[in-house]
C-alpha cells in the first residue's frame, strides 16, 4: 500500500513538480516505507526551496540521520533551531551526538573546591540524562512562552546581538505545587543544551554569620565560570522573601546579596540564565521583579485535560493495565497537579496489589481501580488557588497576577 502511495505521489509530482505539499507527503511516505535516503532527497529539495516549517525540518533531520548523513542532519536541526520550534530539537541533537559517538564528551561535573577556595553547585552536563520539553506533559503555552523569551535568544544569538539584546537574564516560574515548575526549568536547560545548576536553600543557609551570603556568592561565581549555563533557584521565596516580612536581619542580608549578584556588580552575568520557581510569588521581594532581575514572570497553571491525559499515560506506561480510559479520567480530575495524578495512579496500584494479596489473582490495573482511588482524593492545588484568588482580588494593582486571574475565571477553576 505504501509502495502504491509512493508511486502515486511520484506520478503526481511529475505532473506538478512545484507542488511542495505533494513533495512533503512523498518524503513522509518514503520515511514510512523505510527509504530514508530517498526521503532525504525530497526533504533537501524542500529545504532549498525554503518550504519546510520547524516540524518539517526536524523530520528532515531524522531522515538524514537514518540515511547516515550527519552533516545534513546537523544542517536541518540548526535551521529548525532558528524557527522557534519547541518539540523534538533536543532529542534530535542528542541522537546526532550519540550517533557520532560524542556522548563520551559530556559528563556529569561535580566541581569540588577550586584553587580560589570556591565551592560550587553541581552542574548537570549530560544531555543523555537531560530533560527536555518532550518529558513535560502539556503546558504548551508555557513552553512556547519560554521558547520565545528564553531559548531563542540563546539559539539566535546573532539576531539578538544585532539589536543589542543580550541573552540571559532572569525568569520566575510560579504556580501551584506539583505542577512541573522544577521539571520545566530542567527542560529549559535541556532544550538549550546548557549545563544546569540547581541551587537549593539547604545549600545556601548556614547558621554562622555571613556564611549564607558567601554560599550564595559562590554559587554565582561557579555559574559564571560555566557560562553559558542555566542557574535554577528553587523556592525563590525562601531565599528572597519580601524584606518587610522578615522578622530577623539574617534573611534581609541574603536578599541584598541575591540582588547584588543579579545586578552583577563587578561581574558579568551575560549568558547566565537565572531561572527561579516559587509557589508564593507574593512572598518574593518586589525588588527581585524589577527589569534586569526576574523581569519575566511565567505562570505555570495546573495541567489542562489533554495534559492530564498525557501525564496519566506516562505514569501508566510501565504498569500492567487493561484498556484504561485515560480521557475519561482526565475529565474527572480537574485541577489535579502532576504530583496528584502520580499519587492517584499509585493509590490505584495499591488497590490492585491489595486485591492480589487477598484473592491471589494478579490482574491488570483497570479504569475502575483509578476511579475507586479517585473517590478519596482531592486536588492539592485547591489551597493554593484559594490563596491566589485572594491575592488577585486584593493585591493585583500592578496587574502582576493577570494570568492567574484569567485562569481563575476558567471553567475548571470555577468548578
Amino acid at each position: 500500500m505504501t509502495i502504491d502511495r509512493v508511486e502515486g505521489l511520484r506520478s503526481a509530482l511529475t505532473a506538478a513538480p512545484e507542488n511542495h505539499v505533494l513533495r512533503l507527503l512523498l518524503a513522509e511516505a518514503l520515511v514510512d516505507g523505510g527509504k530514508p535516503a530517498e526521503a532525504l532527497a525530497e526533504y533537501d529539495q524542500l529545504f532549498v526551496a525554503d518550504q519546510l516549517d520547524g516540524a518539517g525540518l526536524v523530520a528532515g533531520g531524522r531522515a538524514a540521520l537514518a540515511a547516515g548523513r550527519h552533516d545534513r542532519a546537523q544542517a536541518f536541526v540548526d535551521a529548525a533551531g532558528t524557527t522557534g520550534t519547541v518539540n523534538g530539537i533536543s532529542e534530535l541533537r542528542n541522537e546526532i551526538n550519540e550517533s557520532l559517538g560524542l556522548q563520551q564528551m559530556v559528563q556529569l561535573v561535580k566541581p569540588g573546591v577550586d584553587e580560589d577556595g570556591v565551592a560550587g553547585p553541581e552542574l548537570e552536563l549530560d544531555p543523555k540524562t537531560a530533560v527536555t520539553f518532550a518529558d513535560v506533559g502539556g503546558l504548551d503555552d508555557v513552553k512556547k512562552a519560554i521558547n520565545r523569551t528564553i531559548i531563542l535568544p540563546f539559539q539566535r544569538h546573532d539576531l539578538y546581538e544585532k539589536y543589542k539584546r543580550g541573552a540571559g537574564g532572569g525568569v520566575l516560574l510560579f504556580g501551584p505545587p506539583g505542577c512541573g515548575k522544577t521539571l520545566l526549568a530542567r527542560a529549559t536547560a535541556g532544550e538549550c543544551g546548557l549545563p544546569f545548576s540547581n541551587v537549593r536553600i539547604e545549600e545556601i543557609l548556614d547558621p554562622y554569620f555571613g556564611a549564607s551570603e558567601a554560599n550564595l556568592h559562590d554559587a554565582f561565581v561557579q555559574a559564571r565560570r560555566f557560562a553559558p549555563c542555566v542557574m535554577f533557584l528553587d523556592e525563590l521565596d525562601a531565599i528572597a522573601l519580601a524584606r518587610r516580612k522578615h522578622t530577623g536581619s539574617v534573611g534581609r542580608s541574603l536578599v541584598d546579596q541575591l540582588l547584588q549578584e543579579l545586578d552583577a556588580i563587578g561581574a558579568d552575568n551575560e549568558n547566565i540564565l537565572v531561572l527561579a520557581a516559587t509557589n508564593a510569588p507574593w512572598d518574593v521581594d518586589e525588588a527581585m521583579k524589577r527589569p534586569g532581575r526576574f523581569d519575566r514572570v511565567v505562570f505555570v497553571p495546573p495541567p489542562d485535560p489533554p495534559a492530564r491525559a498525557r501525564i496519566l499515560a506516562l505514569h501508566l506506561s510501565d504498569r500492567p493495565a487493561d484498556n484504561i480510559d485515560i480521557d475519561r479520567l482526565a475529565k474527572q480530575t480537574p485541577l489535579f497537579s502532576g504530583a496528584d495524578l502520580r499519587a492517584l495512579v499509585e493509590r490505584a496500584v495499591d488497590l490492585v496489589i491489595d486485591d492480589a494479596l487477598e484473592h491471589g489473582e494478579e490482574r491488570p490495573l483497570r479504569t475502575g481501580d483509578l476511579e475507586q482511588a479517585l473517590k478519596d482524593m482531592r486536588p492539592t492545588t485547591l489551597e493554593w488557588i484559594a490563596t491566589a484568588r485572594n491575592y488577585v482580588e486584593f493585591a493585583n494593582q500592578g496587574g502582576r497576577y493577570d494570568e492567574v486571574a484569567a485562569f481563575l475565571v476558567s471553567r475548571e477553576a470555577r468548578l
Binding site: 554559587a219 490563596t387 491575592y391
Partner: protein, 291 residues
C-alpha cells in the same frame, strides 16, 4: 556550599519567613540526639502555635520546658497556646509563673493583659479591663516601644470602648504602616467609635497586605461590600450615633411604637427590614468567618 544546612537551621529560617508548615516539615527530619535538643522543641512549639494547633503546641512546649524549665519564650508560647486552646485559667497561671522568673519582660506583661481580658466572664469584663490596663501600663513602663504591649493596649481600648482607641491604633500603625494586624486593630478601634468608613478602609488594607490569611481576606471582602452604596444608610446611621447604633436603634423603635404615628412606624419598620436585608445579604454572600 559543601555542607547542607541542618533541619534546625532550616526550620528557624522557615519560621522567620512565616512558613510554619515548612518549618514543621524540616523538623520532621530531625533524628537522634537532636530530638533531645531543647531548640528542637522550642521551634516545634512555635511552628505548631503559628499553625493554630493549640493542643500539640502545648505538648511541645511542655516537652521543651522539661529540658529547659526556665525558658522565657517557651513559657510565653505555652501561656498563649493555653489561652487560645480554651484553658484560660491555666494560661494565667503559666504567665504568672513566667513573670515570677522574668518580672522585667514587657512582652510577658502585655500577654498577661491579653489573658486577663479574655479570662473573665462578660459580667466582670470591666474589672478585667482595669487589671489588663494596669498590666499593659506596666509593660509600657518597662519598654515603651514593646510592640506586643502597644498592640494589646490598642486591642483593649477598642473592645472596652475607650475613646483613646483610634489614637492607640494610629500609634501602632506609625510603628509599622505595612502591618496587617495593626490595620485590623486600627479598623476595629475606628469602627467601634462610629467611624465605620475609615475603619472599613483599614480592613481592606489589612486584607491587601496579607491576602494569604483567609480570615483577613474574608474581612476584606465584607468590608468592600459594605463600602458599596447599598450599605451607605447603615454606615451613616452608625456615624450619626457614634458607634452606639444598636442601643439607640432600640430606643427609636420603642419611641416610634409609643408615638402611634403610622408614618413613623412604617419608616422604622422599613429601615428595620433594610437592616435585616443587609445582614442576610452579607451572610449569604460571604458565609461565616473562617477560623
Amino acid at each position: 556550599m559543601d555542607a547542607a544546612a541542618g533541619p534546625l537551621v532550616l526550620a528557624r529560617h522557615d519560621l522567620a519567613r512565616g512558613r510554619p508548615d515548612r518549618a514543621l516539615a524540616a523538623l520532621s527530619n530531625v533524628t537522634g540526639a537532636d530530638v533531645e535538643n531543647h531548640d528542637f522543641w522550642s521551634l516545634r512549639a512555635a511552628a505548631l502555635y503559628d499553625l493554630r494547633r493549640w493542643d500539640e503546641a502545648i505538648q511541645a512546649t511542655q516537652e521543651g520546658l522539661a529540658r529547659e524549665p526556665g525558658d522565657f519564650e517557651l513559657l510565653d508560647v505555652l501561656a498563649l497556646a493555653q489561652l487560645e486552646g480554651g484553658h484560660a485559667k491555666q494560661a494565667l497561671a503559666t504567665i504568672d509563673a513566667a513573670l515570677e522568673l522574668y518580672p522585667d519582660e514587657a512582652a510577658l506583661h502585655a500577654h498577661r493583659a491579653l489573658i486577663l481580658v479574655r479570662t473573665k466572664p462578660k459580667a466582670f469584663r470591666l474589672m478585667s479591663y482595669k487589671k489588663a490596663r494596669a498590666a499593659v501600663a506596666e509593660a509600657l513602663r518597662l519598654d515603651s516601644t514593646c510592640e506586643a504591649a502597644l498592640r494589646v493596649r490598642a486591642h483593649i481600648a477598642a473592645v472596652s470602648g475607650d475613646r483613646r482607641a483610634p489614637e492607640y491604633g494610629a500609634e501602632l500603625l506609625s510603628l509599622d504602616p505595612e502591618n496587617e494586624r495593626a490595620h485590623l486593630i486600627a479598623g476595629n478601634a475606628l469602627a467601634r467609635r462610629g467611624q465605620m468608613a475609615t475603619g472599613l478602609q483599614h480592613y481592606v488594607e489589612a486584607a491587601r497586605l496579607d491576602p494569604s490569611d483567609p480570615q483577613l481576606a474574608w474581612i476584606g471582602r465584607r468590608s468592600r461590600a459594605l463600602q458599596g452604596p447599598f450599605a451607605a444608610p447603615l454606615l451613616f446611621a452608625d456615624r450619626l450615633t457614634r458607634g452606639h447604633f444598636r442601643f439607640i436603634w432600640f430606643l427609636v423603635i420603642y419611641a416610634a411604637f409609643r408615638a402611634h404615628q403610622p408614618v413613623l412606624t412604617a419608616a422604622v419598620l422599613l429601615f428595620w427590614a433594610y437592616i435585616w436585608a443587609v445582614h442576610f445579604y452579607l451572610r449569604f454572600r460571604f458565609g461565616k468567618e473562617p477560623k
